[in-house]
Amino acid sequence: MNRRENLKLLFTGTIGSGFLLTACNPEDKKLEYSPKIGGGTVGGRIPDEDLRDQKLLSETFFTDEERKKLDVLVDIIIPKDDISGSATEVGVPDFIEFMVKDQPSYQTPMRGGLMWLDHFSEDHYGKLFMALSENERMQVIDAIAWPEKAKPEVDTGVRFFNMMRNLTATGFFTTEVGFKDLGYIGNRANVWDGVPEEVMKKHGLQYEEKYLSVYLKPEDRGEIAQWDEQGNLI
């Protein structure tokens, strides 16, 4: 093997990427030999990304008390209905647990907001949020869930609940159950041949006549394209 072949092997082949995994800092090595926690992003990761995901997954942000409150809140926001299950059923609290570590700017508003719920409950009912009756609890939620009706003195609570609503909705609809609920049927190989005729009709729309002969015809997708002298597709 001459030097060029050797270098080529080192930096371009599979040996190159193996080299990368074993030759960095000691932390990388630890990752290689310790069992991986499931749940890191799949596909195309560089070692730094894997390390970061594993680190975040190995840490816990929420206390048990906080976690109980979180479970209650997410199921108030996304409950089970006749189409799909609830937020806790699809693991939304785990998703939020990850997100507050992934985007640390969530941490103080999240921790503080959960505390605020207790302060508010204590001030109005003399009990902590989790000790409230179902009826009392929903009174607290109603005080902060409707931004346009909420009193200015609960602004903090409104902001917290907006954040909870965002994270819960996103956490729910980005699951398999959420896809089914929404009726999202993409992310698969298919052939796009335009908007279904009846849908266009419903909205009073149609394709422009002059482009009908220009648009892709699905049956041509197997034929290698060629052009004439004027650059017209043959």
Binding site: L20, I77, W146, T174, Y184, G186, A189, W192
Partner: protein, 580 residues
Amino acid sequence: MSFQTQSAGEEYDVIIVGSGAGGGMASKILSEAGLTVAVVEAGADFDPAKEEDRTQLRNPWESPRRGGGTQIRPFGDFDAAIGGWDMEGEPYTRGNGTKFDWFRSRMVGGRTNHWGRISLRFGPNDFKRKSIDGLGHDWPIGYDDVKPYYDKVDKLIGVFGSKEGIYNEPDGLFLPPPKPRLHELFMIKGAKGTNLPIIPSRLSILTRPINNDRGVCFFCKQCNRGCQAYADFSAGTCLVHPAMKKGKVDLYTHAMVRKVTTNDAGKATGVSYVNKLDMKEYKLKSRVVVLGASACESARIMMNSKSKSHPNGLGNHSGMLGRYLHDSTGADRMGIIPDLVNRERYNEDGVGGMHVYTPWWLDNKKLDFARGYHIEYWGGMSMPSYGFGFAMDTMRKYVKDEFGNPSPNGGYGAGLKKDIRSFYGTTVGMSGRGESIPQYSNYCEIDPNVVDKFGIPVLRFHYQWTEHEINQAKHMQDTFEEILTNAGAILMGTKPGPETMYGLATPGRIIHEVGTTRMGNDPATSVLNSNCQAWDCDNLFVVDAGPFVSQADKNPTWTILALSWRTSDFIISELKKKNI
């Protein structure tokens, strides 16, 4: 950490720094001419067809952040480009009062791995702007010089579109475009009665095969993740890897080039790079050096290539290196189409980008800004990922019940769940991407006080928008409002006003930065001649967007590819003639 210099010992014909659009094209053309080539890339190798590299067709739940962005993938966890505006250990700085963000990708193929695939030719006017409006400078070449290369790029790489016969939006050798999506039909309706054209978009995505090496689009809308069928263009899949298969091309990955080495006669002799794996410095030798590291990175390498023969850095004899840095302008607006609430479900993913767009359509003589912009359209029933379902505290009111009563903003429970369902696929948006006027006073230079983790001095940016760009953004906002309203959309948020420069994006955010090593006819006012050859070093060439004299209201990639091919032809011919 030890520091030593090693040499590969052999001399290449050509060293190419960077493996994106410019470097990739040069690697293919030069190696096919029989030259020995080293491609030196700062990141890792990448091939979206390899299962371990694949992010295409992943579901959001395969990411713990559900596809949300990270520091090194600001466009989402499954986006193919690794790097971003803020890279650990690779800082850059800004002069007082400057806002400029620099996006980099460290991988084979560079930013071509995730770009929008919008592949527009510059038109005849785009090369001669000063002759038209008196601002900036003309290119030393014209459309006729580049046209043959655009034609060849179309055939080699593939682009869909429609022949329109618009003078400054030249037609190419097109593949058939896909039919518009539903929200795009709404926008076409919105433009009726105005003089704003909406025509099939021009994207480098194969709706039909162009050869037996690459597959055709299967409509997953995920070109930004890289395509396992190679049905879209990226420099790795279409240029660098094929070149390695066919020719004498060595790829050096994880290799951060520090400088171009020169001899006492001032000629380039090769490059010096830091191997990121062992943090040692290595040298490669060649007869010709080609820089395609991106406009700013190539300028940085040249500035850092100081020597006895080039005391101010390579290509900087006239102090023009780094000057005339400019990015495209950008502004956006979003609306919701009430008619689409509770819309029918079907798979409308389509290709990885818009199916229609608007080329610049007005005469600047009648306007208070000098250059045009094109419009991109977005919306539809996209795959939900991180961020989906957000903002119901402000947007839920747009969902109305069967009696026409709007839902209250915010809320919770089954009612909220139902409204999110109803809301799905109702938003549409327009984005303007326009031409700015290159300024001598907008530039990058070496910051004498800061080095990156490889010990290489970093760039410091200086950039201010002018009245032309601000007035153009104002015009964009007026256009967006008119067309979205005509299309039956309710505009979201408040219209950006003068306090935000009408929503004009921070320079660098549109990722079309060009001009730092511009070409020209006069060595006193340019870095390169019209063949992208350094005035002060005849075996040094630049093939990224640095040579652009002006960035048209088009995306730069197709022109980078065409110019790189043209420059490569020139290099081959000069080597044959023994001129370099």
